[in-house]
């Protein structure tokens, strides 16, 4: 196989990589938002429950979760498709990380913002939706972009549940070609081409949000 053929071969896995990423976002975004906000708003036992759910998805090893959800759940009568399992496990894992960013963003806001909202007679939900969340989400957007990159890279695990993504395509090709140098270099490049523009976009957003930062720092 020529380098070009290897390239095209790896690209055949791009669709799955992209789909898992997109569907993963369908899980990650609502989970991150809802649980981040919930952790911010709740106290006591409710907060413990919210935190436990977040920690389960965030701290467990993804490989093991994929395995359990795809191969063990059907024995309990719940057979989700490979795409669903991948999107859910990877999405909720990243969503767990995102929820922490959402919570931190909300907590980092100046208390005065909430108080000013109260003083104007705004309801708690209006304060959250119109004042706190917009500011927190903007402030945290570079973090979210980094987490998107993590999600793209994490899709390389989905071959465990029979999906043929870019990494798995590279493995398939190497099972035929036995020539690691061009294959893995191509794979490295493939991820780079997908993720680097996203990383650059993240840098750009970071600069836009805090233009003074570079000039202001102490060293």
């Amino acid at each position: 196989m020529t380098i070009l053929e290897i390239w095209l071969g790896i690209l055949q896995g791009f669709r799955v990589t992209a789909l898992v990423t997109l569907y993963g976002l369908v899980f990650a975004i609502p989970f991150g938002l809802i649980f981040g906000v919930a952790q911010y708003l709740t106290t006591g036992p409710a907060r413990f429950v919210v935190t436990s759910i977040i920690e389960f998805w965030r701290s467990s090893a993804v490989i093991i979760l994929l395995f359990v959800f795809y191969y063990a759940l059907p024995l309990a009568g719940l057979a989700l498709s490979a795409m669903t399992v991948s999107a859910m496990v990877l999405g909720l894992n990243i969503g767990g990380y995102a929820s922490q960013a959402v919570r931190a963003g909300l907590q980092a806001l100046d208390r005065g913002q909430k108080e000013a909202g109260h003083a104007l007679g705004l309801s708690r939900s209006t304060i959250l939706l119109r004042i706190e969340l917009p500011q927190a989400l903007v402030a945290m957007s570079p973090t979210f972009i980094n987490q998107l990159i993590q999600l793209v890279k994490a899709t390389s695990l989905v071959s465990l549940v029979t999906l043929t993504d870019m990494t798995f395509r590279a493995k398939e090709i190497s099972q035929i070609e036995y020539d690691p140098v061009p294959i893995y270099s191509s794979l490295l490049l493939a991820y780079f081409i997908v993720c680097y523009p996203v990383a650059l976009f993240g840098r750009w957003v970071e600069r836009r949000i805090n233009p003074a930062r570079e000039a202001r720092c102490a060293v």
Partner: protein, 263 residues
């Protein structure tokens, strides 16, 4: 409706493979399943009106869990029969005899011709994690410290090429398939690589334990294919010869030991 009835009604069977020549792999050109077990399955079921073979490609370690979870109807990827596996799945009749074989650098510079050489010359050996070859090597006295266990065959080949190991011990059909592919420039099989009959294992198609009717159907068809020479043809297609033929005395019951086959 049993799995067998469903397969016959739909005219479609779903098999799990781990994408390995020559056992079961997806053809790069057509996207269809090829390999020893898929070819046999296709031949066996075609006459029954089952024209479509749907494949699920996954990691080797996920084959049996995937079968048990109902993700596919059969594992057709060169699984060897072992007593432990018999407790989980129902194997069809053994269809191929498998020995250990070895791949070395061209010219076999360290003159490796069996596990004895590996032990006595303190050679670093590579093998697939969890493979039968590892067990055979351990029984033959290869110390753990001299074995590097990789998750897949490519890693073994890469390790051999990059000089991290001197030899990789794999199953003979794998080695035959690899060499036939013509991609192993600079490598060759160690000939001869001495093995004993106790070290041999036998490959078979695996079904779920509750699908005994499907297994019976498969055994029946496999016997017919053996008789009409189809099996020999498929063996020739992948370069298998006399040494890979299963002796008549070997049965699933024997291979599964006291635990019994597919109960």
């Amino acid at each position: 409706e049993t799995t067998k009835e469903r397969i016959l009604r739909e005219g479609k069977i779903v098999i799990g493979i781990h994408n390995r020549t020559p056992w079961g792999f997806r053809d790069e050109a057509t996207g269809e399943a090829k390999g020893w077990h898929p070819d046999l399955l296709r031949a066996a079921f075609a006459e029954l009106g089952v024209k479509e073979i749907d494949i699920r490609v996954t990691e080797f370690g996920a084959l049996i869990p995937g079968l048990l979870a109902g993700r596919f109807d059969a594992v057709a990827s060169g699984l060897s029969i072992t007593p432990e596996r018999c407790r989980q799945v129902a194997f069809g009749a053994p269809d191929l005899k498998v020995h250990d074989a070895a791949i070395v650098l061209t010219g076999n510079p360290k003159q490796i011709h069996g596990f004895d050489d590996i032990v006595s010359k303190k050679i670093i050996m590579g093998a697939g994690r969890g493979s039968v070859s590892v067990r055979n090597a351990t029984i033959a006295g290869v110390p753990e410290s001299n074995m590097l266990l990789f998750p897949d065959i490519e890693a073994n080949i890469s390790a051999l090429r990059s000089g991290r190991i001197d030899v990789t011990v794999l199953s003979s059909p794998t080695v035959i398939g690899l060499l036939a592919s013509g991609k192993l420039k600079g490598l060759e099989s160690a000939t001869p690589f001495v093995t004993t009959d106790e070290q041999a294992t036998y490959a078979a198609v695996a079904f779920r334990s509750e699908d005994q009717d499907l297994r019976a159907l498969w055994d029946e068809r496999l016997l017919a294919l053996t008789k009409d020479g189809t099996v020999t043809k498929v063996m020739a297609r992948y370069g298998f010869g006399e040494t890979e033929v299963v002796p008549d005395t070997v049965t699933v019951e024997k291979l599964c030991g006291t635990a019994g086959a597919g109960k």
